[in-house]
Amino acid sequence: MTQHAITANWLGSGLVVYLAWDGGWSEQVADSFISGSAEEDAWLLDIAGRAADARIVVDPYLIEVTEQDGAAWPALRREQIRAGGPTIAYAPDATVLRRVA
C-alpha cells in the first residue's frame, strides 16, 4: 500500500517543509505524518490547503514515501533531493548534505 506525506514550501522563506505528526510544519522529512489510506490523503490535503490559504505555506502536494524506522523517506529521487538538499557541496561553508544515490 502506497504511503504518502504532504510537502510544501514556507511562503515567506521558500524552504521545503513537511506536514508533521503534530499538525504543524517541519523542515525535516522524518517528522512527516505518514498517511496510509486515500481518506487520510484527502484529509491531509485539506489541512495543507487551509495552511496555504492562511499564507503559511505555498503549493502543498502529496508525495509517496516509504517508512524507515518509523520515519518517512521519499520514494522519488526528486523528493529525496528536496528533502536532503543539493547532492553536491555547493557553498563555501556548507557541509555536504545527505547523498541520494
Binding site: N9, L11, G12, S13, G14, L15, V16, A52, R55, V58, D59, L76, R77, R78, I81, R82, G85, P86, T87, I88, Y90, A91, P92, D93, A94
Partner: protein, 549 residues
C-alpha cells in the same frame, strides 16, 4: 558601458516599489498564489526545488566592479554565499526569501541592476558576444543594439503576455560568439555594398524540446528601422503564436508551421503598415547610447616583459594559451576567467570570488567585466604587461583554471540538484567528467571541445549545440543520459544528433572517454573534435560505444 539617467533610475526604483507592494499583498492575502505567480515571475523570482530562486539580469553580459560587488553582497547578505552564472549571461541566487526579495531588488537598483523580465512570457535579456567592443573581427559593438532593444523591450505594454518566453541575441563579429542562430530572433550586424551598417534578421531558432536553427527573413535591415521591424515580428507572434500547448508556443513553431516565406510576408506586411518614414529612434538618442560604448582611452603598452614571462613560467603560458584571446587594440588582451575548476559546479562563484574579480577588474580591466553564455567571466581590457599579475591574482582565488573552450570547460545547467523542472542531475556528471579529464596537458592535447549538459528537455545547458551534448532523463526512476554529437553554437550552428541509446549514470562518463579516444584515433592535421566528427560522421563513434559489447 551604459549608465542610467534619471528616467532609467526612476523606472527601476518604481518597479521595486511596485514589487514590494505586490509581495505585501501576497503576504497579507489580497493576492492568491495564482494571481501572484505571473507577477513574481516578471521580476525573475521562481519557486524552485529548495527555495525561491532569483534570476538577476546582467544586460548583454556586461557589468562594472561596483555591480559585481553588489552581487557579492547579495550572495552574502541574502543567500548562502555564492551565485550561479547562467547560459544567458545572467546570475541566479538559489536561496532568496520572498520576504527579502524586495530588499534584494532595492539593493540591485542602487547599482543600476534589476530582475525585470528574467522570467515569464516576455522578452528576456538580450544577449551579445562577450567579446563585444574588443574583438578584432567586429563590425560594430553589438551592445549598442542590445541596449536599444533592452529599453524598448522593458515593460513593453503590448508584449508582456506573449505565448511564451522570447530571447534575442546580437552579434557584431564574423565569429558568432552569441549563438544567435538558436535564438527566437538573432541579429547579425552586417555592412551592405554601400558600406551602411544594418542587420541580417533571423527568426525561429531555439533549443528545448524541438531544437531548430533560425531562418533568415531579411538579409539587410537598415539600423534606423530595427525597433519597428522587431515590433512587427513580435506582433505577428503575439497574435498568431499558439496558446493551446505550452510545448508548441515558441515562435520557432509558428515559423515552422506557417512556413518561413509566408511568415516573412506577414512580418513585412505588418512592418510596412507600422513603420514611420523617419528613423524609429531619434538619432540623438542613438548617439547618446552609442557614446557609452565608445572605446576607452587605451595606453601604449610595452609587452616585452609579458613575452619573457611566457618563456619563463610554463603554467602562465598554459593559462595564456587557453584563456587569453587577441584584442583589437595593440598591446591589449581579452582575459577569460574560468568558473570551471576541477570538480566544482560549473558557473558558480563565491561572494569572495566575486569581490576578487571586482578588484581585479578595477586594477586591470578598466572596471569592466563580462559574463559569457558558457558560464565564465571575461576581463575585456587587460594590458599584456598586466597579464602576469592578473593571473597571479586569479590563482589566489581559484579562478585561473586554464581550460577555456577545452573539455574541462563544461557547461551545465543546475539540474535536479536545484531545478524544479529537471528530470536528472547534471552537476555530478559534470564533476565526474571534470575529474576524469583533470590533466591540463590532456585537455590541451584534445583541443577545443565544448561539452554541454542539460538536466531536462528544456535544454538550459544548451546541450543541443554542444560538440558533445548530454541530456539527462528519467527512465523508470533511474537517471539516464543521452549523448548527442556534432552540435555547434557558432556561425555554423548545428543541432547535435543523438548517438544511440542512453547511458546509465555510472556509464556516461566512460562513454565520454570512449568518444574522446575515438576522436584522437581518427583525427588528422590538427582537426578539432568537431572537424573530425563532421568528416567521419557518427559511425565510428557509434561502433566504439555500442559494438564493443
Amino acid at each position: 558601458m551604459y549608465r542610467y539617467d534619471r528616467y532609467d533610475t526612476q523606472l527601476v526604483t518604481e518597479r521595486v516599489s511596485q514589487f514590494r507592494d505586490q509581495v505585501a499583498r501576497r503576504l497579507d492575502g489580497s493576492l492568491s498564489e495564482e494571481q501572484f505567480r505571473p507577477l513574481r515571475l516578471l521580476n525573475g523570482l521562481y519557486l524552485q526545488l529548495h527555495a525561491y530562486m532569483l534570476r538577476v539580469a546582467i544586460p548583454y553580459g556586461t557589468l562594472s566592479s561596483a555591480q559585481m560587488r553588489m552581487l557579492a553582497h547579495i550572495a552574502r547578505r541574502y543567500d548562502r554565499g555564492y551565485g550561479h552564472f547562467t547560459t544567458r549571461q545572467n546570475i541566479q541566487f538559489n536561496w532568496t526569501r520572498l520576504e527579502e526579495a524586495p530588499d534584494v531588488l532595492a539593493d540591485l537598483a542602487k547599482v543600476e541592476m534589476h530582475a525585470i523580465q528574467t522570467s515569464g512570457n516576455t522578452i528576456r535579456n538580450t544577449t551579445a558576444d562577450p567579446f563585444a567592443g574588443v574583438a578584432a573581427d567586429e563590425i560594430e559593438d553589438p551592445r549598442i543594439t542590445c541596449e536599444i532593444i533592452r529599453q524598448w523591450s522593458t515593460l513593453h505594454p503590448e508584449f508582456s503576455f506573449l505565448p511564451r518566453k522570447f530571447k534575442i541575441a546580437v552579434t557584431g563579429a564574423l565569429d558568432d560568439r552569441a549563438a544567435v542562430k538558436v535564438h527566437d530572433i538573432g541579429l547579425i550586424l552586417r555592412r551592405n555594398e554601400a558600406s551602411e551598417t544594418g542587420y541580417e534578421v533571423m527568426v525561429g531558432g531555439g533549443q528545448g524540446r524541438t531544437p531548430m536553427i533560425a531562418k533568415t527573413i531579411r538579409d539587410f535591415l537598415p539600423k534606423d528601422h530595427l525597433l519597428s521591424y522587431l515590433e512587427a515580428i513580435l506582433r505577428v507572434y503575439n497574435l498568431a503564436g499558439r496558446r493551446d500547448n505550452k510545448y508548441k508556443a515558441r515562435i520557432k513553431i509558428l515559423v515552422h508551421e506557417t512556413g518561413v516565406d509566408r511568415f516573412r510576408d506577414q512580418v513585412e506586411a505588418e512592418w510596412a503598415a507600422l513603420r514611420k518614414t523617419g528613423p524609429d529612434l531619434d538619432p540623438a538618442e542613438v548617439a547618446r547610447i552609442a557614446r557609452f560604448f565608445a572605446p576607452p582611452a587605451y595606453d601604449s603598452v610595452d609587452s616585452a616583459g609579458y613575452r619573457a614571462m611566457l618563456f619563463e613560467d610554463q603554467a602562465f603560458a598554459d593559462w595564456v594559451r587557453a584563456n587569453v584571446a587577441p584584442h583589437k587594440q595593440d598591446g591589449y588582451a581579452i582575459a577569460s576567467i574560468s568558473l570551471k575548476p576541477e570538480g566544482a559546479p560549473p558557473g558558480d562563484a563565491t561572494a569572495d570570488q566575486m569581490d576578487a574579480v571586482a578588484d581585479l577588474a578595477v586594477r586591470f580591466s578598466l572596471d569592466e567585466i563580462r559574463v559569457t553564455h558558457e558560464q565564465n567571466l571575461v576581463l575585456p581590457h587587460v594590458r599584456q604587461s598586466d597579464l602576469y599579475e592578473l593571473w597571479q591574482g586569479l590563482r589566489k582565488h581559484g579562478l585561473a583554471t586554464a581550460n577555456i573552450g577545452l573539455i574541462g570547460d563544461i557547461i551545465a545547467c543546475p539540474g535536479l540538484d536545484y531545478c524544479g523542472l529537471a528530470t536528472a542531475r547534471s552537476i555530478p556528471v559534470a564533476q565526474r567528467i571534470s575529474r576524469l579529464f583533470s590533466s591540463l596537458d590532456r585537455q590541451h592535447d584534445i583541443g577545443e571541445l565544448r561539452l554541454k549538459i542539460s538536466g531536462c528537455i528544456n535544454a538550459c545547458g544548451h546541450h543541443h549545440v554542444g560538440h558533445i551534448g548530454i541530456l539527462g532523463v528519467d527512465r523508470k526512476g533511474d537517471e539516464v543520459y543521452q549523448i548527442t554529437l556534432g552540435g555547434r553554437a557558432d556561425e555554423n550552428a548545428a543541432i547535435g544528433k543523438i548517438i544511440g541509446p542512453a547511458f546509465a549514470s555510472e556509464d556516461v562518463v566512460e562513454a565520454v572517454e570512449t568518444i574522446v579516444r575515438t576522436y584522437i584515433g581518427l583525427r588528422q592535421d590538427g582537426e578539432r573534435f568537431v572537424d573530425t566528427y563532421e568528416r567521419v560522421g557518427q559511425k565510428p563513434f557509434k561502433e566504439a560505444l555500442y559494438d564493443a559489447d
